[in-house]
């Protein structure tokens, strides 16, 4: 019986520099601490920066996100209802975020509940402009910046 040579295959491991995905990084999860929250403001006559014109929504005092009077699409992330003292502009005021705290504030200040100002604290995201993004805003395309504002409780439907 002739002798046969057994062919051996050698397995060579090649390092491609690419890490194989594992269960923990297959899905990228973010939380609020991953989000850069920039400073937004509406340009007014008292604004002490050059960017934009009156009524423009300006981010970080340098880039115009939306022109005054022109709607910009947003996504609401969360909305919290609150109450605050009705004081003159610039004076300190207390804000509360529950009916129990509202009643307590009214009792402590002697102001009737119906005289407290209702507001909504809204956090929303603005989608960055897709063209010439880096020239217009310091953020890449995508939903990546959030804005918290307080608005009187009044919305309109379009």
């Amino acid at each position: 019986m002739p002798k046969t040579k057994e062919k051996k295959e050698e397995i060579v491991e090649v390092n491609t520099g690419v890490t194989a995905p594992v269960a923990s990084n297959l899905e990228f999860r973010i939380d609020p601490s991953d989000i850069n929250i920039p400073y937004y403001a509406i340009k007014s006559a008292l604004s002490q920066y050059d960017a934009g014109e009156l009524g423009d929504l300006v981010v970080d005092k340098t880039h115009v996100v939306a022109k005054g009077g022109e709607p910009v699409e947003i996504s609401i992330i969360k909305m919290i209802k609150g109450w605050e003292e009705d004081v003159k502009f610039g004076e300190p005021k207390e804000r509360v975020y529950s009916k129990e705290a509202r009643d307590d504030l009214a009792e402590r200040t002697g102001v009737p509940v119906e005289k407290l100002k209702e507001f909504a604290e809204i956090t929303f995201a603005i989608e960055s402009l897709k063209m010439a993004t880096m020239e217009l805003t310091p953020f890449p395309s995508g939903i990546n910046s959030t804005l918290s504002v307080s608005l009187p409780l009044r919305t309109t439907h379009s």
Binding site: V72, L151, T155
Partner: protein, 47 residues
């Protein structure tokens, strides 16, 4: 329905009062649905 399920529009409108004027931000909800990616993002943000 969650707030993030629909697209919203933010507009800074000029308001003219009797003695002064100012710029006021206003929100309006649209009838257009948000993309599923946005809905998922909002859900993960709040979880």
């Amino acid at each position: 329905m969650a707030l993030g399920d629909k697209k919203w529009k933010l507009t800074v409108n000029h308001v003219q009062g009797k003695h002064n004027d100012w710029w006021q931000p206003e929100l309006a909800v649209t009838q257009e649905n948000s993309p599923q990616a946005v809905i998922d993002f909002v859900a993960s943000f709040n979880s």
